[in-house]
């Protein structure tokens, strides 16, 4: 269990370095939902770097698949149809709320943005409520 905490922290530090490089190099917030949305609904001249970022995420995922596949143990904790509803809520909510765990939760909280701090508290609380609901209804696998 102690190893999990340490690895959690180490992974977090690597994520912190990644978003710092995005700021230092490109002057941008690493908001992944906005980056993906900008590919779906492109603005002229603001597209290429988004694809490169997404390819980077996939290359990172692939490197894990070949070196430490246990880190990519991706089974849902719920039934697949709940996962599908969950995804729709995540995609819709992130766009309405202007960010997700990366943009608000990591980048926004780091720069002490009141909007991001509020968003993070709201989505964490809502997530906890959703898990309670899953548990009460016996849908948590």
């Amino acid at each position: 269990m102690a190893t999990e905490w340490v690895m959690g922290l180490v992974g977090g530090v690597v994520i912190g370095i990644a978003v710092s490089l995005m700021l230092l190099w490109n002057g941008r917030v690493t908001g992944v939902s906005s980056i993906v949305y900008g590919v779906l609904v492109p603005i002229k001249g603001d597209l290429a770097w988004r694809w490169y970022f997404i390819v980077g995420l996939l290359l990172g995922g692939l490197s894990l698949k070949f070196t430490a596949p246990e880190l990519l143990a991706v089974e849902l904790q719920t039934k697949a149809w709940i996962g599908a509803i969950a995804g729709i809520l995540v995609g819709f909510g992130a766009m309405l709320g202007g960010g997700c765990t990366s943009g608000h939760g990591v980048c926004g909280v780091s720069r002490v943005s009141p909007r991001s701090i509020v968003a993070t508290i709201v989505f964490m609380t809502a997530g906890m409520a959703a898990v309670i609901l899953l548990r009460k209804t016996g849908l948590l696998v």
Binding site: W5, V13, G27, F53, L72, G83, V90, V131, L133
Partner: protein
């Protein structure tokens, strides 16, 4: 080109960080949110690590006049708490808790070539497109700002 390669390296590092932290596994997300069950604090350590580093680097980097590969900064400056922010984050959080997937994790885990992350990823895209259509036709977001 530096700009694009920079974004690629950031994406790669981010994915590796997610993997190391264990939070590509939905069990660790649900475990963190499951405060009245068997609580798993891993995500808290990951958030602490990421925010801890970036809280310091943000201040240092912003002392520069410009980023290295760009003429301008692209950083949100808004301060006001709006209904769109609250309602959107509420909807996002419910989905995050129900599935255990955030957008970053859903993209990264596509590399597993397994079906379940693909289901979540496709539905996230559908959710974004639903937002786009609804917003275009009803000005949903600006009405809630």
């Amino acid at each position: 080109m530096k700009y694009n390669i920079g974004a690629l390296i950031v994406g790669l590092l981010f994915a590796v960080g997610l993997g190391l932290s264990g939070i590509l596994q939905p069990a660790n997300i649900i475990g963190f949110l499951d405060v009245f069950g068997k609580w798993n604090p891993t995500l808290l350590f990951t958030m602490a690590g990421a925010v801890g580093v970036h809280f310091i680097t943000y201040k240092l980097i912003r002392k520069r006049k410009t980023p290295m590969f760009s003429k301008d900064w692209f950083i949100p400056t808004r301060q006001e708490i709006t209904p769109a922010l609250i309602i959107g984050s509420l909807i996002f959080g419910i989905g995050w808790g129900l599935g255990g997937y955030c957008p970053t994790v859903s993209v990264t885990t596509l590399a597993s070539f397994e079906t379940r992350p693909l289901i979540v990823f496709v539905s996230i895209i559908l959710g974004m497109l639903l937002f786009w259509v609804l917003d275009k036709n009803t000005n949903l977001k600006s009405r809630l700002e």
